[in-house]
């Protein structure tokens, strides 16, 4: 049954090709259902492979299937081949599972869009690339998926290309990611140079039977981390992710929350045998970048007014947790959090999409309020998502976050402290979002006035929601619940967000199911916790206290309005610590000036030299042509002078 692994990416590829060939010849819902069916087929294949793998013994759960040689040149050779092991199949499970739900959701969400078919074509291509990324049995095939998802992300962010800001956001995403890709490529060169192969299992075997210098492995890890920083939006390459919200909301849920952005984390976990050979300062650096990004992004999320921007910064922050886990050597915890995050963040994004859909494209939190009764399913599921991400037991987010924090303490208590502060902020900003959206007085009735906060900041780049065409002025908003294609995925994801924690409970060795399951891929390289169970209880309790504090402050600020919200909603936080603006200013200023200077150099110096040479030849020629004046006298004079000159030369030569 594991042999069927090739079916997993084949389904979305087939869907993509079919949609390309059909073009505009099919009417609206058909393309959506076709794409969704392809995804569902892929999900079923994953299930079959998964069951097949469960039936195998632990040591037989790692299989390579080679389809054909891809690039064989000289000593270099890579295949199109799949590595089916618990890690890749786990990834496939939530990619295709959540993917199918989001495809289904999109049928409702994209209803009425003139480019409905194009949307699903891209979505299937994305799913195919993402599955290639996780199933690839070598780094180059992973890179193929890696770039493929990047390209799809570009195409989908700039999907509504008529708005220049969407187009800019798409371009920014691709280029920022390319900076990370530079690191990925250099890492592959280093690996090939030192190991002679890019195939994961070969690399791991070589690592085991040879002495590889620590500097080499450290550099490889650092370069791969540069790649991961791009895809998984870590500081300072996170810049593209908040802008990526310009894409349709299902895209934000699928690509920019649940799947693509986790591929950096996946990559680092996939190469865990190299990670453990790298020096500790490099993994320490990874942990610190992760936790730093988590705190940084959480602080920004506190003051965002766009419902999707809050979730975007929240995603950056949660990815920071996963990177922290990787840096601490807690690979299972990272995957665990990746899975629970895929559930609750997809849920939150789809919920936000449902709200935006019901509000005719409005994205400003300040113009929501009291939507709970008008959108009961959306509100109910969103609240579950809130409790899950905030880390309230027994929801899934609590378990995965708790495990990461325990490993952070194990590595350094400082990391733990920063992580707990982030948890507090997370609980706070999510409470704020839920209250502003679903509770309190409805504010969307105050037409024209963009809430009470002075600057209408992010409200400008709304333009979201498939049928926003007839949005018109906000005055006529009649909030309504979304169709079943949209609410069904919400309910499914809400259930998963509640029970997701069951796959890895910390109580005893037998409840750590995910850890055992992943062993064939983590090769016992996980860090071991050297903490007593009483320490773990105290840590969990303290983390819980911070979560409760965060929710409490949030409630008293936004629901009971006992605390002035201006204390938290600082302009500098709304402007993301001005980091993005500074980078943009540099690119637009000195950066583009430097480019222009090079172009000017080309035009004036290099081309100038060529034209200058032409001019000199012309001038010289125009002087010389005077000698050719057609007068015999002049020519005779020339001959005479020449003859005398020759004579003198001849005489001097012979006398000496």
């Amino acid at each position: 049954m594991i042999d069927l692994v090739w079916l997993i990416p084949a389904f979305p590829l087939l869907g993509f090709l079919t949609l390309i060939c059909l073009g505009k010849s099919v009417r609206e819902p058909v393309a959506g259902w076709l794409a969704t069916t392809a995804m569902a087929g892929s999900f079923l294949s994953v299930l079959i492979v998964f069951i097949g793998m469960l039936l195998e013994k632990n040591e037989n759960r790692q299989t390579v299937f080679t389809l054909f040689d891809w690039i064989p040149a000289g000593d270099f050779k890579v295949d199109i081949g799949f590595l089916a092991d618990p890690l890749s199949i786990t990834m496939c499970l939530f990619i295709t599972g959540v993917g199918t739900l989001i495809h289904l959701y999109s049928i409702g969400y994209m209803h009425g869009d003139p480019d409905f078919n194009r949307f699903f074509t891209y979505l299937n291509l994305f799913a195919f690339s993402m599955l290639m990324l996780v199933l690839g049995d070598n780094l180059l095939l992973t890179f193929l998926g890696w770039e493929g998802v990047g390209a799809c992300s570009y195409l989908l962010i700039s999907f509504w290309f008529r708005d220049p800001s969407n187009a800019t956001a798409g371009k920014k995403a691709f280029i920022t990611n390319r900076v990370g890709d530079w690191g990925f490529m250099v890492a592959m060169f280093l690996i090939f140079f030192n190991f002679g192969s890019l195939q994961y299992l070969e690399i791991f075997d070589i690592l085991e039977s040879n002495q590889i210098a620590k500097t080499t492995t450290t550099f490889i890890v650092l370069m791969l981390f540069v790649g991961a920083m791009g895809k998984s939006a870590q500081f300072p390459l996170y810049l593209w992710l908040p802008d990526a919200m310009a894409g349709p909301t299902p895209v934000s849920a699928l690509i920019h929350a649940a799947t693509m952005v986790t591929s950096g984390v996946y990559l680092l976990i996939r190469v865990n045998p190299i990670m453990v050979e790298a020096s500790t300062w490099s993994t320490g650096l990874i942990a610190w970048v992760g936790v730093g990004t988590a705190l940084f992004a959480a602080s920004i999320a506190v003051a965002q007014t766009d419902i999707k921007k809050v979730l975007a910064y929240s995603t950056v922050s949660q990815l920071g947790y996963m990177v922290l886990a990787v840096g601490c050597g807690a690979y299972t915890a990272a995957i665990f959090h990746m899975i629970t995050h895929a559930f609750f963040k997809a849920l939150l994004f789809l919920g936000a999409g449902s709200v935006i859909h019901g509000m005719n494209g409005e994205q400003d939190l300040r113009r929501y309020g009291g939507l709970r009764s008008l959108m009961p399913i959306t509100a109910g599921t969103f609240i579950i998502g809130w409790l899950a991400i905030a880390g309230v037991p027994p929801f899934s987010g609590f378990w995965s976050k708790d495990e990461i924090l325990a490993f952070a303490w194990n590595k350094s208590p400082l990391l733990w402290i920063v992580g707990v502060i982030t948890a507090l902020l997370t609980a706070f900003y999510m409470t704020r979002q839920v209250i502003l959206t679903f509770f309190g007085k409805p504010r969307y009735l105050d037409a024209g006035d963009a809430g009470d906060a002075g600057d209408a900041g992010d409200a400008g780049d709304a333009g979201d929601a498939g049928d926003a065409g007839d949005a018109g002025d906000a005055g006529e908003i009649k909030p309504h619940e979304s169709p079943w294609t949209m609410t069904l995925p919400l309910v499914a994801l809400a259930v998963l967000s509640v029970v997701g924690g069951l796959i890895q409970l910390p109580f005893s060795s037998s409840t750590k199911r995910l850890e055992h399951w992943l062993e064939p891929a983590t090769f016992h390289n996980e860090t071991h916790l050297h903490l007593s169970s009483s320490t773990l209880w105290v840590l969990a309790l303290l983390a819980l206290v911070s979560v409760v504090a965060g929710i409490g402050i949030g409630l008293s600020t936004y629901l009971k309005e006992k605390i002035d919200k201006q204390i938290f909603e600082k302009t500098i936080l709304n402007n993301a610590w001005n980091f993005d603006a500074t980078v943009s200013r540099f690119m637009g200023g000195p950066g583009s000036k430097a480019f222009a200077a090079v172009a000017k150099f080309d035009k004036q110096v290099i081309d100038g030299a060529v034209d200058g040479t032409g001019q000199i030849v012309k001038k010289t020629a125009s002087i010389l042509r005077r000698s050719q004046n057609g007068l015999v006298r002049t020519y005779a004079l020339g001959i005479g002078i020449g003859a005398i000159g020759l004579l003198i030369w001849f005489l001097t030569r012979t006398t000496i």
């Binding site: 000289g74 008529r162 969407n166 890709d181 299992l201």
Partner: protein
């Protein structure tokens, strides 16, 4: 000598000479068509060019790459000016094979894609003569024959630019002609000197036979280095290598669409092909000696071309500068002097021909509709021309080097091989990958995205003919990205032979390979099998 006999027995039909003869004959037929039958001109041109294409494909199918010990295949040789040892000597190996096929494919496409605005007969005649010249360069195994073809190419191109070009065409045509002419003048001196020095050193009569001269390596080291430079200068102008590149943007911008397609697709490769065949093969020691210079110029070209491309306001000029960056990769790979990198370079010559050819066709189609190439004046084209936007996107992604499309394979092999040999050059060159995304996506955004106004909102999408012309290129872009193996297999042996040739003639040089191939790293195969 034995190699010539062995190969000629396998092919009785002189397929290589016919690659020159057919287009030349076509040029003559077109030129002498009755004035009244103007309608036949294009048809005749297409027939002759597709025949040439068919011949090149026949060559491809009959080319043997397994168990073939001879360096060149399909060798055919006729004495020409026997007093000076000049002969009609042709042969093909894995390095020239795909450039011949590329030429064969691109010409009919260029014919079908665009019609000249006036003087059809002379236009098609010049184009066919151009094809003959290009084929000649890729097939010649005689230095004089090679030089003749190399120079013959200039004349049709000059007329194509100056008669059917745009605005500033006579400036561009003259610049193109003078630049390349000046570059290759010294090469003639070099060729004659090489032949006579070889005859002196080996004894016997003068010969211009490439294989004989290259295999004997009889010329003294110092002299050979100087002679290498005379060749390298001609090629450097043709490629073009920074800082000899300024003829290219002008020629590209002013040339008619078909001219740009051929110029970028095939003509630039005369230079990079020359560097391999008449650089590395003829002067291995000098190539090795000067490699750092060319590696550096290659990297400079990659970064410089990309930066200048980003600032261009004219779409065609932008693509022209992007060519400089791409050709920088090819130069880099060539002088890394190992199998992966050189295979990557040869592959990239083909890839660049396909992608940039398609890109120029698309820019030409935009120009036909909007009569402008100024990026500022375009915008929102995707609105009314989604199919064109789709084609442009795929071609652009191929040019950016997206894995799964053709551009990536060559670029990756070049960088991988270069890293093995000279890691820091590769690390810097890889930055070119970031910059390529920058200038192309930015251009795409300004041309296709955003709101469409006035004329931009009303342009027509691709016509059936245009789609059909682009489809084969698109198919190649995908095929070479997904399954480049058959192409690489046919190139690889020739490249390996070349690298061995360099190793043999450069004392102390060994092909730079990875640590595993060096034997420093060992795989425990038994354990590996258990692991599976």
């Amino acid at each position: 000598m034995n190699l010539i006999i062995a190969a000629s027995s396998s092919a009785t039909f002189p397929v290589l000479p016919s690659l020159l003869i057919v287009p030349t004959a076509g040029a003559l037929v077109v030129a002498f068509l009755p004035r009244a039958r103007k309608d036949l001109t294009k048809l005749v041109a297409v027939i002759f060019s597709t025949t040439t294409c068919a011949l090149s494909l026949w060559l491809l199918s009959d080319f043997e790459y397994e168990n073939h010990s001879d360096m060149f295949q399909f060798v055919s040789r006729q004495s020409w000016i026997s007093d000076f040892g000049i002969s009609w000597s042709f042969g093909v190996d894995g390095i020239s094979l795909f450039l011949i096929v590329l030429t064969g494919i691109l010409f009919p496409i260029a014919f079908l894609a665009v019609d000249p605005e006036h003087n059809d007969r002379s236009y098609f005649a010049w184009m066919l003569l151009l094809e003959a010249g290009v084929m000649g360069v890729f097939c010649s195994l005689d230095l004089i024959l090679f030089f003749l073809c190399f120079e013959v190419v200039l004349v049709p191109m000059y007329f194509l630019i100056s008669r059917w070009g745009h605005g500033n065409r006579s400036y561009a045509a003259t610049k193109f002609f003078l630049f390349t002419m000046a570059g290759s003048a010294l090469m003639l001196v070099g060729i004659i000197t090489v032949a006579f020095l070889h005859a002196d050193n080996v004894g016997g009569s003068v010969t211009f036979d490439l294989v004989e001269i290259a295999e004997s390596q009889s010329i003294a080291q110092g002299t050979a280095r100087w002679l290498f430079l005379t060749f390298a200068l001609a090629f450097a102008v043709k490629i073009p290598i920074f800082p000899l590149h300024t003829w290219l943007p002008d020629a590209h911008t002013e040339a008619p669409t078909a001219g740009s397609v051929i110029l970028a697709g095939v003509l630039l490769k005369l230079g990079t092909y020359g560097l391999i065949r008449f650089g590395l093969y003829l002067f291995p020691e000098a190539s090795h000696f000067f490699a750092p210079v060319f590696l550096t110029l290659g990297v400079v070209g990659i970064i410089y071309g990309a930066v200048v491309a980003a600032m261009q306001k004219d779409l065609k000029r932008l693509v022209a500068y992007s060519s400089i960056a791409h050709l920088g990769f090819i130069v880099l790979g060539t002088f890394a002097l190992n199998t992966e990198a050189i295979v990557g370079s040869v592959l990239q010559m083909v890839n660049h021909g396909i992608s940039t050819g398609a890109l120029f066709l698309l820019v030409g189609m935009i120009y036909e509709r909007r009569h402008t190439r100024q990026i500022d004046e375009l915008g929102g084209l995707q609105h009314s021309a989604p199919l064109m936007a789709g084609f442009f996107t795929v071609v652009m992604l191929s040019s950016i080097g997206l894995p799964g499309l053709n551009g990536f394979v060559g670029e990756f092999l070049i960088l991988l091989g270069t890293f093995t040999a000279h890691r820091w050059w590769a690390v810097v060159a890889t930055l070119g990958v970031v910059l390529a995304a920058l200038y192309l996506l930015w251009a795409y955004q300004r041309v296709f995205h955003g709101p469409a106004e006035k004329e931009n909102a009303e342009i027509t999408d691709l016509k059936t003919r245009e789609t059909l012309v682009l489809l084969p290129l698109l198919a190649l872009i995908v095929f070479l990205g997904v399954y480049p193996k058959p192409v690489i297999n046919r190139m690889e042996n020739s490249v390996k032979t070349l690298v061995v040739h360099i190793e043999k003639h450069v004392s102390g040089f060994e092909e730079p390979v990875n640590r595993h191939s060096l034997g420093e790293i060992k795989i425990d195969t038994q354990q590996l099998e258990e692991g599976h």
